[in-house]
Symmetry: D5
Subunit: 95 residues, 10 copies
Amino acid sequence: MLFHVRMDVHLPPDLDPATRDDLIAREKAYSQQLQRNGKWPQLWRIAGEYANFSILDTADNEELHRLLSGLPLFPYLDITVTPLATHPSKIAEDD
Amino acid sequence: MLFHVRMDVHLPPDLDPATRDDLIAREKAYSQQLQRNGKWPQLWRIAGEYANFSILDTADNEELHRLLSGLPLFPYLDITVTPLATHPSKIAEDD
Amino acid sequence: MLFHVRMDVHLPPDLDPATRDDLIAREKAYSQQLQRNGKWPQLWRIAGEYANFSILDTADNEELHRLLSGLPLFPYLDITVTPLATHPSKIAEDD
Amino acid sequence: MLFHVRMDVHLPPDLDPATRDDLIAREKAYSQQLQRNGKWPQLWRIAGEYANFSILDTADNEELHRLLSGLPLFPYLDITVTPLATHPSKIAEDD
Amino acid sequence: MLFHVRMDVHLPPDLDPATRDDLIAREKAYSQQLQRNGKWPQLWRIAGEYANFSILDTADNEELHRLLSGLPLFPYLDITVTPLATHPSKIAEDD
Amino acid sequence: MLFHVRMDVHLPPDLDPATRDDLIAREKAYSQQLQRNGKWPQLWRIAGEYANFSILDTADNEELHRLLSGLPLFPYLDITVTPLATHPSKIAEDD
Amino acid sequence: MLFHVRMDVHLPPDLDPATRDDLIAREKAYSQQLQRNGKWPQLWRIAGEYANFSILDTADNEELHRLLSGLPLFPYLDITVTPLATHPSKIAEDD
Amino acid sequence: MLFHVRMDVHLPPDLDPATRDDLIAREKAYSQQLQRNGKWPQLWRIAGEYANFSILDTADNEELHRLLSGLPLFPYLDITVTPLATHPSKIAEDD
Amino acid sequence: MLFHVRMDVHLPPDLDPATRDDLIAREKAYSQQLQRNGKWPQLWRIAGEYANFSILDTADNEELHRLLSGLPLFPYLDITVTPLATHPSKIAEDD
Amino acid sequence: MLFHVRMDVHLPPDLDPATRDDLIAREKAYSQQLQRNGKWPQLWRIAGEYANFSILDTADNEELHRLLSGLPLFPYLDITVTPLATHPSKIAEDD
């Protein structure tokens, strides 16, 4: 089941650099694990902003919340979730 | 080059049904042609709303505007465009 | 799977009364059918407004969109959907 | 009498972990006591956010304010209250 | 039980004058009846706007909604309700 | 002359408790003095929020500003003032 | 007593030209009468918009509302009123 | 003197096509005359929207308002003006 | 050339009192110098807020920005500038 | 390919002056390098604000994001990007 997610990152400019690097490294590893197992099929940087648009593909709302609230950067994120449905004009993948 | 687009459709409830059906049929054909030639790779319905999130893949901003302003429903749409870039945590498609 | 939904009704004051009555009667029947089969477990009027808060319980996002977009009043509604998850402080129903 | 309440939690990321754990533990106990005595009949996590939608059932506005302002997390909450009324399409619980 | 209510009136400028006069006369009579029986203890015009701030005093949310949705101008109103509680600094009326 | 005032209090959660208690005690005394001399005839807590709706009755805008800017909590308040006029549907107090 | 007022004019583009001309002529006469008797000491066009910033000088809120609600264009205006007070850095007129 | 201007065009979808074509042709001629005489040095379409960003170069605010309010599409435009100044990091044109 | 300016002051409540007093004294002197030389012809306190509405009269946008960005309180201000033009209904000063 | 960019700078007033000066000097050098190589063809200060409007001219969205996220002030900026297209009324540069 697909969800559209916007994440805006608000790291304080004066955050300790080592803490910051650690947070970002853990966020990257976490995200890539979810990408590899198919839970996070799309991820784009919003040009000019410290923010992303993502598509998550989870079994249900519970799994969606568990994955998002487990993000290492979660305390620094503004997150907006929008549930998606099939668009009636969408062609089949192999159309 | 990828762009994130949100389209909200505002068709007046009292629009003549034949006009409405014709507009929607032409919108669908237009959209599917762009999906088939790779210009509109992603299209989702926003659950509960007459609106969609789309990803368009165009050569540049000019082509993007030409495609969007050519939508049969364009006079009834609120459109928001966000340019996308590669996210540093994105894994390769075949990773 | 639970979704929180807010619906604001915008019927034009000069709508033909028979059309209006018919719309509202069909909306009521549609809503009550969904309440009876468990898809619409909660429904409240927002005091002082022509609007409601609802909880819908659907198999997935697809069913949610199908049910909402099938509302007889759909062309006159502003709808906002929020996916819900279990709260960690929630006690069991029979606690 | 029912009230719809949205609570958004804004705990500073650098809050002392022991203080944080204590606050959250007291919030949970407080909430569960109100759930057990029927004052807080519904509580959902908003997927992807540190926020909840709640239904409170109090004797009047006074009791509602006393319960909400007594939340251990109150100084860190943005709270929005909406009074609810019976919806004319609502079926009886045992319908 | 007290509620703070803001009402903004949006009568179309081209409304038939007789209809308009009738609506406003019925609104006035309705409001004054509620003022006389103590349900609508405070009513002020917002200077420079076709809008008012009101205090309603009803037994509960149900009565509040019944009174507000029965306003002759209801289809033309934007209404915002805020439940009120006793302020801890408020002196007694006869203090 | 009547003014409608909304005050939202933003005290930092980590404010020194003695400073906080002193501020609140002085605010209460200040408010009650104005209530006693008729300048602050109405004061309600907004249910669920650290905020109030007030009616102030001052000779003019100058006095209004002097009273509000003298509030001990003034540096921590967001204040919105709305001038009020007599509503044409208002009945006389002794009607 | 001074009030800052912003007025945004929303005349429908398809308004009958004679009606429009009459409204604007009456608005101008009304405004100039108030300027001449000192009630409307300042009036500026907001560059690029069909809107103005004004300063009104009235005995009280009642007179302010009476003057504004009597504007021939009142049904087509969005009006925002802000009460003004003397600024502590203001020099005397003849300073 | 430079001004940044955003113009959003709101032509009703059911406007008579001849009226629409005439309006747009006159708007184009008007704009191009101002471009040729140096008053409107920059003009861009906002991709995906019926809107533009413009830079106008006028002697003063008066001329700016005269030019904008003379636009044939003016009754259908939402216009926002922002005055511009030299940026301290701007290099000279021939740097 | 006239500009309408709104300034909202956001001094941190815990600012060192001497620093605060110095800032405010320098702001006052700066403002009064501009009032005396005719650059800042109008200045009003917004009742109930730490904010002002001002009219500035400068040769051009450059001078406007130089004067505003030179305000001692500039780092603590939210400033909104609106260029003004002559209103067609304005009577002559000596009318 | 042209992009319209608005940047709002939020430097904390209590930032260490040497750090501040260094940041601003590096920002200026960075900006001027991009202006010289044609990537940042337009740059204006927004009068009265610590903000700018810019036009960037990059090969694609990727380059746009790389340039913006490399700004020395990036952690202190709110950035909004709008892709631009040719306006149909734009005259040729040498028209």
